[in-house]
Symmetry: C2
Subunit: 202 residues, 2 copies
């Protein structure tokens, strides 16, 4: 019992664990990797491919995308301009919490408005990598993985990005990948190269 | 180049990284540790003390508390009943995302309503540990670390939990700690013991 108390005292820290402490434990820096692009451009596929490669290298990562956000944290948001802005605001805040926790957070949302993405960037500071997942609209529309373009063309979905709602392409992204030209593996390697150059991973 | 491609192919996974994969990498299970109790009961202090002990043991952890939530994700919420509910709903969702990411998420909020806490529990499933940070109101009021009780007694804060707003104590918490009686170290060890029994840490 006395032994227990003694060993507990030794490991006792008054100070709170810092982001730098967590990064040291993980063996890599943390950041936000923000994938933006049209529906069907391959944001989520690329984010998960990058996560797979990082995980294989022993990094702590997490992908925020429609699958885990739309029916959870943001299930009380619709598609009005205010709700779209709030959608991206919350995602930026949560991604930044993950980065504070030492995790490489990857976000995969259309995030069509430059102003909203810039706010997410401002939150994350230097540790923000905007990846423009560029892809010609006609290729996205051919892929149409969720049948959304078809519905948008039929007028069943109003204000669909690229068809009836604007997309502001990034002006100074850390990387542009063209998924209509590059293979998934090439795009993945290009993202990893940016993270290496940025000092996030060794 | 061919060499690169080959080695990349070897590490290529089609499947997404699962929570179990992340737990294996981390060497511990993930969960939500939900601290609830009156203002001044010591929730945040205890959460950080538990985090310190877990971090020393090499665990991946993150504390969600007023410091990183109130001025960030939940800065657009006030203190109406609807906003209080939404406050806890978002915290429950984010804590669950951290748990999905393999992290031990610790939350330190008054969270006075049983119904709201039960929703957070339902999200996290088995991996939810409700810690009732019990402390006599008069001790909390003596501590009054932020001067809030004084303001509440003076009528400057309306609907203050314990004074002019209700607190529903947990009916079946995984653990009750009484910070008016136990030392911080004792309470910390009691939480760690619950995590060991629950199979979260070795």
């Amino acid at each position: 019992m006395a032994e227990d108390r003694k060993s507990t005292n030794i490991t006792w820290h008054e100070a709170e664990i810092t982001r730098a402490d967590r990064e040291r434990l993980n063996g890599h820096k943390s950041c936000v990797i923000w994938f933006t692009g049209l529906s069907g451009s391959g944001k989520s596929t690329l984010a998960h491919a990058v996560e797979n490669a990082l995980f294989e290298a022993g990094c702590r990562t997490y992908v925020l995308d429609g699958d885990n956000i739309r029916h959870g944290l943001n299930r009380n948001l619709g598609f009005s301009p205010e709700d779209r802005e709030e959608n991206i605001r919350r995602i930026g805040e949560v991604a930044n919490l993950f980065a504070q926790a030492g995790v490489i957070a990857l976000t995969a949302f259309i995030s069509p408005y430059r102003a909203d993405r810039d706010k997410a960037r401002a939150l994350a500071g230097d540790a923000f990598f905007e990846i423009y997942v560029k892809c010609d609209l006609d290729i996205c529309e051919q892929r149409d993985p969720k049948g959304l373009y078809k519905k948008a063309r039929a007028g069943e979905i109003k204000e669909f990005t690229g068809i009836s709602a604007p997309y502001d392409p990034p002006l100074h992204p850390e990387l542009t990948v063209d998924t209509g030209v590059e293979t998934l593996e090439e795009s993945t390697q290009n993202v990893l190269a940016v993270l290496r150059t940025g000092g996030i991973i060794p």
